[in-house]
Symmetry: C2
Subunit: 342 residues, 2 copies
C-alpha cells in the first residue's frame, strides 16, 4: 500500500517539477554545448525525491503545490548540477542507465554545464518573491545557500579521504560526512523549505533536523548497498562502481576496520591505484570480503536503525497535524526504507 502511494506521488510531483524545470531553461543559443545538455540529466527521470519531499511538506503545512513549485524546481536543478560535477569528480561511467555527461561529451563541457545549472537554479528563487513575498523568499534563499554550503563541505571530506587514501575512518566519520553531503540537501532542507512555505514562516525549521538526518542516512546507506547488490539495469549505474571509485561507504569503512592486516594492505593498495587501473577482479574480491566480514549486514542494520529513528521523529512532529495524502507520503518513504529487502 505505502509503496504504491510513494511511487505515485513521486511520479506526480517529479513530473510537475520537470515541467517547471523546462520553463526555466532558456530556449536559445548556445544549444549544442550548453542548453541542450542542461536538459539531459533532469530528463533522464530521476526519483524526484527532493522536490517531492519539499512539495509534500509544504502541503502538509497548509500550502499548495504552486506555492512550493519554484523552490522544488531550484532544488532539482541544483541537485542535477551537483550530480554532473559529482560524476566528473568520481570519474563515473553511468548515471540512470546512460553514459555520464563527461563520458559522452567531455569533462570541460560537463563542468561548465553544471556551473550553468547552479546559476539557473537561482532564478526560481528570485521568482519566489512574487508568490511568497519578500520575507519568506529571502528565508528560502538562505536555506538554499546553507544547503549548498553543507554539500560542498561534505563533498570536500569525501574527496579528501579518497585523495589521501585515508583508511582509518569509523562510523562517526562516515555519518558526519553524509550529514553534510547528503542529509541536508536530500531531506533536511526539502522538509524545512516546504514547511516554511506551507506555514508562511510560522514553523521553526530546526524541528526537522533530526528527522531529515535519520531519513538521509538511511537513504544514502541503502543507495550505497544497492550499488553492490542490485541488478545493473534496475540501478542505472555500474554495479560495484563505488568500490572501483574508492568511495568511502559505510561498508568499506567497516571492512577496513574488520579485515586482517594482509587484507587491509591489499585493499589499500587497490585504492592507491589510479581509478582506471583498478581491476574488476580485485573489486569483486573486496565485495567478497565485505560479505565475509559482515560489512553489508552491518550497513543494512544501520540503515534500518536510522529509518526506525526517522519513523519515531516523524510521529513526534506530524502526529499533531491533520491527516492528508502528503503527510502519508512522507511516512510512506520511511516505511519503504524500513521494509526494504533489496
Amino acid at each position: 500500500m505505502y509503496e504504491a502511494l510513494m511511487k505515485s506521488m513521486l511520479q506526480q510531483y517529479g513530473a510537475d517539477t520537470l515541467k517547471g524545470i523546462h520553463h526555466f531553461i532558456p530556449d536559445k543559443e548556445p544549444r549544442k554545448y550548453l542548453y541542450n545538455l542542461v536538459h539531459d540529466y533532469p530528463n533522464r527521470g530521476g526519483k524526484g525525491f527532493r522536490p517531492s519531499l519539499c512539495i509534500a511538506s509544504c502541503k502538509t503545512y497548509g500550502g499548495s503545490l504552486d506555492d512550493a513549485l519554484y523552490s522544488a524546481v531550484s532544488l532539482e536543478l541544483l541537485h542535477n548540477a551537483f550530480l554532473i560535477h559529482d560524476d566528473v569528480e568520481d570519474e563515473s561511467l553511468f548515471r540512470r542507465n546512460k553514459p555520464t555527461m563527461h563520458e559522452y561529451s567531455n569533462k570541460a563541457i560537463a563542468i561548465n554545464v553544471g556551473d550553468a545549472m547552479n546559476v539557473l537554479g537561482l532564478y526560481p528563487l528570485f521568482m519566489n518573491k512574487e508568490k511568497l513575498g519578500q520575507k519568506i523568499s529571502q528565508q528560502i534563499f538562505l536555506e538554499i545557500q546553507h544547503m549548498v554550503t553543507e554539500s560542498v563541505e561534505g563533498q570536500a571530506l569525501e574527496l579528501g579521504w579518497r585523495k589521501d587514501n585515508i583508511s582509518d575512518l569509523n562510523d562517526s566519520d562516515y555519518l558526519r560526512m553524509i550529514l553534510k553531503k547528503t542529509c541536508w540537501y536530500t531531506c533536511m532542507h526539502p522538509l524545512r523549505i516546504g514547511a516554511i512555505i506551507g506555514s508562511r514562516g510560522k514553523v521553526k525549521p530546526d524541528i526537522f533536523n533530526r528527522l531529515g538526518y535519520f531519513m538521509g542516512t538511511a537513504f544514502q546507506i541503502q543507495d550505497d548497498i544497492l550499488n553492490l547488490v542490485a541488478e545493473e539495469k534496475k540501478y542505472g549505474k555500474e554495479i560495484g562502481g563505488d568500490i572501483l571509485e574508492g568511495k568511502r561507504t559505510l561498508m568499506l569503512i567497516h571492512l577496513l576496520q574488520k579485515s586482517k592486516a594482509t587484507e587491509k594492505n591489499g585493499i589499500r593498495k587497490f585504492l592507491s591505484l589510479p581509478i582506471r587501473e583498478r581491476q574488476n577482479e580485485k573489486a569483486a574480491w573486496i565485495l567478497n570480503l565485505m560479505q565475509q566480514h559482515g560489512s553489508i549486514v552491518h550497513a543494512k542494520n544501520t540503515a534500518r536503525y536510522m529509518a526506525g529513528a526517522a519513523l519515531k521523529e516523524y510521529y513526534t512532529i506530524f502526529s499533531r497535524l491533520p491527516d492528508c495524502k502528503d503527510k502519508s507520503f512522507i511516512e510512506s518513504i520511511i516505511l519503504y526504507m524500513i521494509n526494504r529487502d533489496y
Copy 2:
C-alpha cells in the same frame, strides 16, 4: 603618470577587496580539502581588476568604498571560482606563477572548491541589503545572475569549438564569444553595478554596455597576446600555453583564415591531438606562422582599435561628471591599453 595612478589604485582596491574576501571565508573545518584552498587563488595577488572597476564606478557616481565593497568581494570570489574551473577545463598548468589548483591537488577537489566559492560569492550579496536596502541589493543580485549566465554561455562556445575542433571561425565569432565570456563580467557588470550603487539606482546601467564591451575585448585580446610574447615570470602562466590548449584566440582564428592549405591541415592535426600529446615544437611552429601571417599584428591592431573606441565611450559617459581620482582611474586603464607596447 596614468600608469602609476592605475597601478596604485588597483593595488589599493585589490587589497581592500582581499580583506573583505578573508572576512567571508569561514574559519572552520574542512580546512585541508576546502577552506584553505578557497584562500589560495585570491591570495596569489591577481590584478583586482573587476572589484577595482566596480569600486571606482561607485565612487565616481557619488558612493563610497564601503557601499561597493560587498559587491566587489562577490565579483572577485566568483571570478576566482571561474578561474579554478577554467583551469581544470583547459588543463592549464600554471596560474599566477604557481601550479594550478588541480595540478597540486586534483581535479575533483578543484572542481568542488570552485563550487564552494560560487556559493560563498552569494553571501556578500545577501549582506548588501543592510547597507543598500532591499531594492538596490536585489537589482545587484540580478546583475550578478546575468553576469554568471553570460559567462557560462561564452565558455560553452569556446569549449565547444575546441571539442569539435572548429576551424572556420571569423572575427565576429570571436568577438561574440568574448563579449559573453569576458566582457560582461570583466567590465560591463563591474561598471554597471558600481554605478547602480553609487547613484542609488538612478543611473541606467545599459549606458555602460558599449564602453564595457570595448574595454573587455581590448583587455582580453591583449591578455592573449601576452600569452604569446611575454616573459614567463612576468606573465605567470606558461608562454604559448594558449596554443597548446587549443584556445581559439583572435590570432589563431586569423591564422586559420590566412594560412595555406597544407599549413591549415598541420594546425588542425595538432589541435585534434589530446592536449598532453601536443608537442612544444609544433606550438612554436604555429607561433611562427602567426608572426609570418601577421596574426599578432592583426590582434594588436584590433585591441588598439577597441581601446580607442572605449576611450570615446568613456568621454561620452564621464565628461559630464565631476573630476575625481576614481574617474581618472577608469580613464587610466583605457589609456594604458591604448599605449601598451608589450
